[in-house]
Symmetry: C2
Subunit: 257 residues, 2 copies
Amino acid sequence: MAGFSRFLAVLRLFTDSASAWSVPDMADALGVPASTAYRTVRDLVAAGFLEAAQDGAYRLGPAFIEYDRLLRMTDPLVHAGAGALRDVVMQAQTPCVALLSRLYNDQVMCVADEAARETVFRSSYERGRPMPLVQGATSKIILAHLPARQLNRLIGAPKSAPVNDALRRELAEIRRRGYCATASEIDPGLAGIAAPVIVREAGIFASLSLVADDSRLDESQRRRLVLLVVSAASLVSEELRHRHIPPPLHTSIRSVK
Amino acid sequence: MAGFSRFLAVLRLFTDSASAWSVPDMADALGVPASTAYRTVRDLVAAGFLEAAQDGAYRLGPAFIEYDRLLRMTDPLVHAGAGALRDVVMQAQTPCVALLSRLYNDQVMCVADEAARETVFRSSYERGRPMPLVQGATSKIILAHLPARQLNRLIGAPKSAPVNDALRRELAEIRRRGYCATASEIDPGLAGIAAPVIVREAGIFASLSLVADDSRLDESQRRRLVLLVVSAASLVSEELRHRHIPPPLHTSIRSVK
DNA sequence: GTCAATATTCTCATTTTATGGGAATGAGAT
DNA sequence: ATCTCATTCCCATAAAATGAGAATATTGAC
């Protein structure tokens, strides 16, 4: 291991349950000499990706907040979706959480969320938290719209993984239907309603979804929310498609100031 | 330039106004050969810090969202302050934005913000955006509570920078008063009210502040909000002080699972 | 205050890796 | 087909990271 990966390795030590590390402990955990660990940490601190807590402990640094804002302001999906999420929770007229989620390596991650005012429950899906690929409406609707090649890479080709044939049939059915509604697949008692946000030409495979208390939903409510989610997802997709300007030919591209 | 700094240099290219870059343009801007730029970008993409947009353009990657969540969940200041901000905007009973801000290199950066329901204006202070050090209540109240050595480093020692003597007197007065109220220093028409969140033993130099429409504030309003901000800041400080557990002696520290 | 135990930084010879020039390949456009 | 530019590949070289251990700084114990 060397170079860049040393920095990544240090950052990966930081998790929900281990949020502060001393340098000797990092060196231990990574199996590198102390001098190397001190140097790596010093560089990360200088860059703002780590920061000294107290008593020789280090925690994640404020540079992540800065880059996160930059991403929120400039990422097409996040930027286009955030407004839609606000509209959705307003129009839902019930305690709920609206999510915008996308593929992230071999998981699904929410990139924007918005809770209605009076929402008391919390969804496991929350901005920045990687979630399983094959559970929950939010994830399934994305899987259902993936190109065959990419899906095979994630769940195995039909021949090599016939165990997934049932899943494949389920995904085909979801794609046909155009939305996905589940209940208690991730959080007991919570229902998920998700619609696809797919813009192939921009490489966007995402979903817009709503999480609400399942016991509060009667059939007409559910139908109304499905409609709300599906149309919001279409709006976001359209906006993204519209933004996707084919670049001028034979010219390097760069964002205009 | 080499090693880690090459990665930093690439990331620093991404700004509000230049949010998508092609690799040749990056190579140009950094003055490095194309082959080097391609390799650097490939590594950053693999780590999730960049991601391919369309047509050879790259944008910031979802890893920043993931680390930002981790920080929100685990950073003592953000975690303790977020709840307080919600309380503040609720109790303010007027359109406003509450901010939690801190030193970040030689600037001040908001690390958590919360807007009241009906707030229409936007403050220039927003989560993740570095702001000037010596303007606005949010920043000044932090400066006013910095140890002398650190203040000198930021604005120059009294002898070498006598031009700042007026500022020094202003800061001393602010410290004496315990809060700072300004108007139109950053955004025309907006007023800022800030109180310190200082926990020296934990290395925390921050502020809790409220931004509201200046023309809507009469004297009694203003007094009420000052009280609100000051007491909220005290609560946050107390919570942080309480959390600061002196580590066990002669033992390496590590967050408990 | 001294002492002892760690934490942290420093040094430097060595190994490892990144570097970048250029060739090779690919993808469009004409 | 041919031109242009994007992208990858190759490899000798230069450069930088590495790590063992020494040197120094901190810190608590006493």
